[in-house]
Amino acid sequence: MTPYGVGIGWRPEIAGFVAELPGLRFVEVVAESVHADAPVPPGLAALRDRDVAVIPHGVRLSLGGAEPVDPDRVDHLAAVASLLDAPLVSEHIAFVRAGGVEAGHLLPLPRSREAVDAVVANVARTQAALAVPIALEPIAAVFDWPDDELSEAEFLTEILERTDALLLLDIANVYANARNRGTDPLALLDALPLDRIAYCHVAGGAEAGGVYHDTHTHPVPEPVLDLVSALCARCRPPALLLERDGAYPAADTLRAELDAIAAASGYPAVT
């Protein structure tokens, strides 16, 4: 992917703030929030006019579901990518529904051969409809399945190799999982194919009930920024994106978070 530097998740609530960022070169929009058969929302259209890349980020495909991915959802993602002239799209290595019931959230997969096969088949179905590459994002999980056969790095690497997909590495998820599992986040970075990273997510979270939650509504903690630096020291990703999904702070606070990501990664400030 083009080295876009630091970006931010575009949300209607902060559209005004995002529109004013002078150095911005890419944003992400939740794919399901865009209507494929309507004009591009004005805020996004203005960004496109400035040559800011807009990446549709799907949250409800359920690529990790045992059932085949819904063709209508795949078509929608492809249509939104085309509408926005997106250089790539992204989705999660997760499932969000099963047995006809919506979970309402991204749920973890067992790290098993069977789950790898399910993801690979669904990614292939999705890629068949897409004119652009897809990047896959590992999620933050509060719990794991009891019968994992593969390590996280083995699980992810096998999926990426078999699908030829790119990696959307969420540094906050790496931090959350390592903290909750008591594992070393740097060991995971060392075991992942970092050269496949299309871009990174950076987000805030908070601890509750003895578990760190990747909330996207709290400030980005210092250890996450340290991990950004550690990642960039190994292999700097082409782009990093701040995700904020509620409890939106004052513009100055958001600007400071974007600047902190720029400082941690060595990319120019976009503010």
């Binding site: 209607p12 499932f95 019931v101 979970a103 309402g104 069977e114 509060v142 996280e152």
Partner: protein
Amino acid sequence: MTGDLAARPAGGHATGDAGPRPAGEHATGDLAARQAALVAALTSGAAVPHGFDERLVGIARDALLRKRAGEVARAWPLLAADRGDRWPAVFMEWAAARPTNGSLRDGWDLARSLAPRTGPAAAELAAREAAWRYDGISAPVPRGRLSGWARSVRSGALWESGGLWTRLRPKD
């Protein structure tokens, strides 16, 4: 390297009797059933499947309900405000065994069951009932002449302000 539940210091009681098999005997080809059992535990009050850490799955279930409470509060701001600080608890109790049908319908179903008679919450419900036809089973449909207005909301200037369509749109 990651996720070894047996080695995790917190939450050591990995029990539960919903699973059809003893731990470690997972036949291949049952991913669909196992995913459905997990979703049922998280959304429908079903038992936590065998082998999962009940404490952690419970934390995930509560986080999910709290997230839904926030989403429904955005779709039904006056209903939520009517309950004040008790809103998350009120919603979470009501939703504990009810999988989501999207924030609009979830809030609508809860509003009908709470049946506010006076005040802003009652007015909010009445306005929705007047503008949309909702049978409690499938997605609400705009009534009569309002359907044209609803279509204009989809692509119009309200997108920019970020609110109304996001709040009103039925979730598929």
